[in-house]
Symmetry: C2
């Protein structure tokens, strides 16, 4: 299986949003019928050198995505950390190792950027994901808190 | 009590790093004796319009800090989220409500930046912090995973 990892382009948006929507939690959060707000968000992401919205291609089709953010901080001796958000693999391609390959790519990209740590949060209900992150060597050392705000 | 919230300046670095170090977890992670790596990290943070390293002043002294990162994503309809890291209040000023005021400032800043959510992770061992975030209305809905990398 040959997989290609690359920065997302504007013409990948429909495929990415379809994957974000095709998910027990995502289906309530996304509105894939109108790409307008996603186009505006994509422009922001593309303009920020500390953001890497990744897609993985297999046989010419986009079959996975994640967003990597590189965040410099003062703590831990001024370390840079990589934050992973919005991980999805297309439904018809699950169980093929694409998620694992995507994470191996993301971790190597964080190393290349000089990050001292990679972090992510995952909903407590995603127990399959917990096993996946445990197997990759991530440590479930933290509690992830969220506060929804009124703004869109 | 009058508190002032502002962007950190280079001459706040010693006070910020002292607070990061004066902490059960931080003391093993920080090397406050040599500010050189922190100066380099500060320059990166200051150059990034999506980073806001905040200090809170009381009676002319820096008594608290946190780092806010504004991250645009595709998920949740292209929402921007605020990420809070590296929260500290100076030991001699704890129990005075400064932490709460700092979070109220951070949440209002996230709203002003158009964020739809504020998120943070906290070590599972910080049970006092968990009560604090619960009281602020944050929901402990996620598991926070970390993977340490070899790079500094």
């Amino acid at each position: 299986m040959t997989l290609t990892f690359r920065k997302a382009r504007a013409d990948d948006l429909a495929a990415i949003v379809a994957m974000l929507s095709d998910d027990p939690l995502g289906q309530a959060r996304e509105a894939a019928g109108d790409l307008t707000p996603y186009r505006a968000a994509f422009a922001d992401i593309e303009a920020d050198p500390n953001q890497f919205l990744c897609v993985v291609e297999r046989e010419g089709a986009v079959v996975g995505t994640l967003q990597l953010s590189f965040i410099r901080g003062l703590s831990r001796g001024g370390a840079k950390r990589g934050l992973i958000e919005a991980v999805r693999v297309a439904r018809e391609c699950r169980g093929m190792g694409i998620g694992r390959a995507l994470f191996e790519w993301a971790i190597s990209e964080c190393l290349a950027q000089g990050c001292g740590m990679v972090q992510l949060t995952t909903d407590k209900s995603r127990t399959d994901a917990h096993r996946f992150y445990d197997a990759l060597g991530f440590e479930a050392s933290h509690v992830g808190y969220k506060l929804a705000l009124g703004a869109p």
